[in-house]
Structure formats: structure tokens, C-alpha cells
């Protein structure tokens, strides 16, 4: 599904974000990326989305070398991915349903499909009854659930979540993580960056720890910090 081959990423500012990262994530896996701020977690996700290109090495997603992907094929790569953001990134002047439909509308999906798919995605996240409301009327947890609905509406084979619980209280954080697990159970590969030890330790999924741009730990059913 995802393969990093000896990937280095150095920004134009000179900051080395990733160094010699070699990693393979299989289809259907649920992976936590952990590590302190600046350890390279977000860069890891950006390379998968082709927001950045590796300085050297290869990033393969679904058999495609995304670093070498021509610019005109990047949108088609991104349509196969779902992304959840820490700060939700909802459009405040559009209803919940319009925010979810946004990912369909701007990718040229037949409008006939909008209503049933938006309804489905909102049902999945438990917000079908709030479709007409504006994001500002929802709690933080609910807004993030809208973010998840938008991320899954294109039925991605891979879902990336960058600190999805970073702005949420523990209960809402748990709901989001539960939701991501449910999405993963349907066969979608899920990669989540987090600073939340409780969630990682309870879920006991694969944990990849980064430190100063290097993979320092990769455990199948890991904990947030290395077991002593």
C-alpha cells in the first residue's frame, strides 16, 4: 500500500525533516505515527499526498512512485486518499452536507450521486440529523466527525489523519478514534499521527515512532512510549 524506500526530505530552509526512512505499510493496516513535534510525522503524510516531494528515495503509494508523478496526475492520486485535519478545515459558510459534498463536487462527480453518498457518510459519523446546520453550531468533536465524513465520501483506500484529536476533549477524541477504527475495519488503510498516549495505548495498533526524522521504533501492537 505505502512504501518508503530510503526517503530523505530536506526543506529549502535546510531543515532535515526525514532521514533514511524505509518503511512498508500493508493494505488494511492501522498505523499510529508518534513522536515529538518536529520529528517528521506531518512531512511523512505530506509526502504521501504529494504536497512535498522527497529530496531522495522513493515514496510508493498503491504501486505509484508519487515523487515522480506528473503534476497532472496528482489530483487523481488525491482522490484515492481521504485526509482528516487537526483543525477540521471545514468551510464555515456551508452546511454540514455541503462541506461533505464539497469533496464530490470539486472532483467532477455526477451530482445525482451527491445526496445518497452524503447521507451515507453522515450516517457513518452519526450526524445525518445535522446535515443542514452550519459547522459553527457543532461541537469540536462533531466538526471533526464532519471532517471524517468528507474524508471517506470518496471511498478512499487510504485515510490519513494528521493529529485528528489534537483539538478535542478526551471523550470526543475517543469517538474520532473509534470512528477511524471502524473505517479501518471496512478495509481502508488508516495512518494517524498523534500525541495522545492514552488512545495509542488502549488501541494497541502498529506504532511507528519518529525522532528527528528517523524511524526509531516500529512495533506491531505498540505503545506510545517504548516498553521497558
Amino acid at each position: 500500500m505505502i512504501q518508503f524506500d530510503d526517503v530523505r526530505m530536506r526543506y529549502s530552509t535546510g531543515v532535515a525533516a526525514l532521514q533514511d526512512v524505509t518503511l512498508r505499510i500493508e493494505s488494511g493496516e492501522f498505523v499510529f505515527l508518534v513522536g515529538p513535534t518536529g520529528s517528521g510525522k506531518s512531512t511523512f503524510l505530506k509526502l504521501i499526498q504529494r504536497i512535498e516531494r522527497p529530496s531522495s528515495g522513493r515514496v510508493i503509494v498503491d504501486g505509484v512512485d508519487v515523487g515522480a508523478l506528473p503534476a497532472e496526475e496528482v489530483p487523481s492520486l488525491r482522490r484515492r486518499l481521504g485526509v482528516v485535519f487537526q483543525e477540521f478545515k471545514l468551510l464555515p459558510d456551508r452546511s454540514v452536507a455541503d462541506n461533505v459534498a464539497f469533496a464530490l463536487r470539486v472532483t467532477g462527480t455526477d451530482p445525482v450521486e451527491f445526496a445518497p453518498r452524503v447521507h451515507w457518510a453522515l450516517e457513518v459519523v452519526g450526524l445525518a440529523g445535522r446535515a443542514a446546520e452550519l459547522p459553527a453550531r457543532l461541537s469540536g468533536g462533531e466538526q471533526q466527525r464532519v471532517g471524517v465524513a468528507r474524508a471517506i465520501i470518496n471511498r478512499p483506500s487510504l485515510l490519513l489523519a494528521d493529529e485528528p484529536t489534537g483539538n478535542l476533549d478526551p471523550e470526543a477524541a475517543w469517538e474520532i478514534m473509534h470512528l477511524l477504527s471502524a473505517v479501518n475495519l471496512r478495509g481502508t488503510t488508516v495512518v494517524v499521527t498523534t500525541h495522545n498516549p492514552t488512545l495509542v495505548d488502549i488501541l494497541r495498533r502498529r506504532v511507528v515512532a519518529l525522532h528527528e526524522g528517523r524511524v526509531v521504533r516500529d512495533e506491531h501492537r505498540g505503545l506510545y512510549t517504548a516498553a521497558r
Binding site: R105, N154, H178
Partner: protein, 322 residues
């Protein structure tokens, strides 16, 4: 909280069997995509009503300044052309030429390059003109026993700056005794009209440039206010063309709306000014509205829509690098 992720529905409302991957999305035909772009553009203008109104008002001011500058510049040049058109050479003819000979001289002068026209003014016509300028038709005729004024040919030149050269050529025409033109006055006039022309061109260029920058910047700000929307579009897989399309349409629509309002302002203002001036200052001739307004309006529309679109493209460039 219990969460169950079912299989996404099909468009016809039937559920796809569990575990079966949904059929590939139908991508709407190009016409549908264009329709969606138009819808996005109209939606964008509506949702961002206040920003749209602010942008259109700013563009109206910028276009009115550019259009006004153009009108002022065209009228300055028109005035310069009128002044230059009044520059004349008077060729004083040898005494005793018959009317036919005088007309032959005028014809020879007309054939010279840089001559726009030549008219014979007989000594009697010259006296008549002089009398009229004194106001009392009979006063000079009463004072003088015979007419002291010479027969002459009045020569109008194509370009006042060439007056010396033309005067030399006129002086060599057979039958011409002397050539008279107001050298210092013509020199000053030519300098003045040259300055007026340059000032007009610089005025139009500066105001046009200022308007261009204001419009581009206004649209850029309107685009910047929606950078999150653009970023999300790019991250969920909208193509750059799809992202640009609605914004370019919006830019064009804003520019066109502003151009329409500016047209009303310019046409109304200029017609009122032309009417007012012709009544109060008839010696200050403005270009006829029908002669200049279509050009000014066309430029305002082109500037409005083209720069509206250009501003959107420039504004989007930064956010499309995601």
C-alpha cells in the same frame, strides 16, 4: 458510541453488496463540469457577498479613474490638434495678378507635401474681414481711398512642426512675393501641444497602470480570503483547472459588473460635461461623445474583465502550489 461503517450507497438508491467495491464514479461530461464551474462561481459571489461588493466598488473607482483619464487625455490631444490646425502661413502675392493667376498659385501650393489646404484671399475679401473685425462695416472703407491690403493665399499645414520647411517651399512658388507666419507664436504653440500630448499619454498610462494594479490587488485579496477553500479543493483532488475555472469566472463577472457600473458613470458624466461646457464655454470644444465614448467604454470593459480574470490567476498561483 457504536459505529458501523456500511457500504456506500449507489446513486440509484440500492445498497451495493457488502464487500463489493463500489463501481467507479461516473465523471460528469465536460458540459456538466462547466455547468458546475458556473454554479461554483455564482455561489462564490453570493457567499462572499460583502467581499464581492467591496471588490466591485473598488474596481468601479479604478475603472472610472482609468476611463476618466482616457477621456481627459483624448480631449487634451484633441485640443492640441485644434490649436495646431489653426496655424497658418500667409503667402502674399505679387501685385497685379489676375484672379486666374492667383488661383494657379493656390493650386501649386496645394500640391506641396505637408499642405492641408490653401485658399485665395483677395485684397477686397481681406479688407472686408478687417472691417468686420473692427465691428463697424463702413468705417475703414470710409477712411481709405484705396485698399492697401495685398492679395494672398492662406496655407494650412498638416503638421505645425513642419511650418518652416513648408514656408520655404511656398516662398519658392512663382507669384508669391513674401511668406509670413508668426514664428515665435508657432514655436511656442508647437512646444505647448507637444507637452499637452505627452502629458495626456503619461496621464492615461499612469492611471491605466494604477487601475490595473488596484484591480489585480483587489481580486487577489478576494482570492486570499478564500485560501482555505482553495487548499481543501486541492487536497481532495480537484484539478488546478477546476479550481481556477470558478475563480476566473468570478473575476470576469466582478470585472464585467464593475465595467457596467463604470459605463453608466462615464457616459452619464461625459454627456453632462459636454452639454454643460458647450453652453457655458463654447470655445472649449470637447470631443463629441459619440466619437470617444465607445472607445472609452470598450477599454473599460476589456480592462475590467481581462484584469479580473488575470487577477484571479495571479491570486491563485500561490495557493495552487499545494
Amino acid at each position: 458510541m457504536s459505529i458501523e461503517v456500511s457500504t456506500p450507497p449507489r446513486a440509484d438508491g440500492a445498497s451495493a453488496p457488502a464487500g463489493v467495491r463500489h463501481r467507479p464514479r461516473r465523471v460528469v461530461a465536460r458540459a456538466g463540469l462547466l455547468g458546475e464551474m458556473f454554479r461554483e462561481a455564482a455561489d462564490g459571489l453570493r457567499r462572499n457577498g460583502l467581499m464581492t461588493a467591496a471588490a466591485i466598488s473598488t474596481i468601479v473607482v479604478a475603472l472610472a479613474v482609468a476611463g476618466g483619464g482616457l477621456l481627459a487625455s483624448a480631449n487634451l490631444m484633441h485640443l492640441a490638434a485644434i490649436l495646431e490646425g489653426q496655424v497658418e502661413i500667409v503667402a502674399i502675392l505679387r501685385d497685379g495678378l489676375s484672379a486666374a493667376e492667383q488661383e494657379r498659385v493656390a493650386t501649386a501650393v496645394r500640391r506641396l507635401s505637408s499642405v492641408r489646404g490653401a485658399t485665395v484671399v483677395s485684397k477686397s475679401a481681406a479688407l472686408h474681414r478687417l472691417q468686420r473685425s473692427f465691428g463697424t462695416p463702413s468705417s475703414i472703407g470710409d477712411l481709405l481711398s484705396n485698399n492697401p491690403l495685398p492679395d494672398s493665399v492662406e496655407v494650412r499645414v498638416v503638421d505645425a512642426r513642419q511650418i518652416r520647411v513648408v514656408a520655404g517651399m511656398v516662398g519658392r512658388v512663382s507669384g508669391v512675393e513674401e511668406v509670413v507666419f508668426g514664428t515665435p507664436v508657432v514655436d511656442r504653440l508647437v512646444a505647448l501641444t507637444r507637452a499637452v500630448r505627452s502629458a495626456g499619454a503619461v496621464l492615461a498610462a499612469l492611471l491605466g497602470l494604477a487601475s490595473l494594479l488596484i484591480i489585480v490587488n483587489t481580486i487577489r485579496l478576494a482570492v486570499a480570503a478564500r485560501r482555505q477553500e482553495i487548499e481543501i479543493m486541492a487536497l481532495v483532488g480537484a484539478t488546478p483547472a477546476f479550481i481556477r475555472g470558478p475563480f476566473m469566472l468570478e473575476g470576469a463577472l466582478q470585472g464585467a459588473l464593475a465595467a457596467a457600473l463604470t459605463t453608466i458613470l462615464l457616459v452619464g458624466g461625459y454627456m453632462a460635461l459636454a452639454a454643460g461646457l458647450s453652453a457655458s464655454l463654447p470655445f472649449l470644444p470637447l470631443l463629441a461623445p459619440a466619437a470617444i465614448l465607445p472607445v472609452a467604454v470598450a477599454i473599460v470593459w476589456m480592462l475590467g474583465t481581462a484584469v479580473g480574470i488575470g487577477g484571479s490567476v495571479v491570486g491563485l498561483r500561490r495557493y495552487l502550489r499545494v
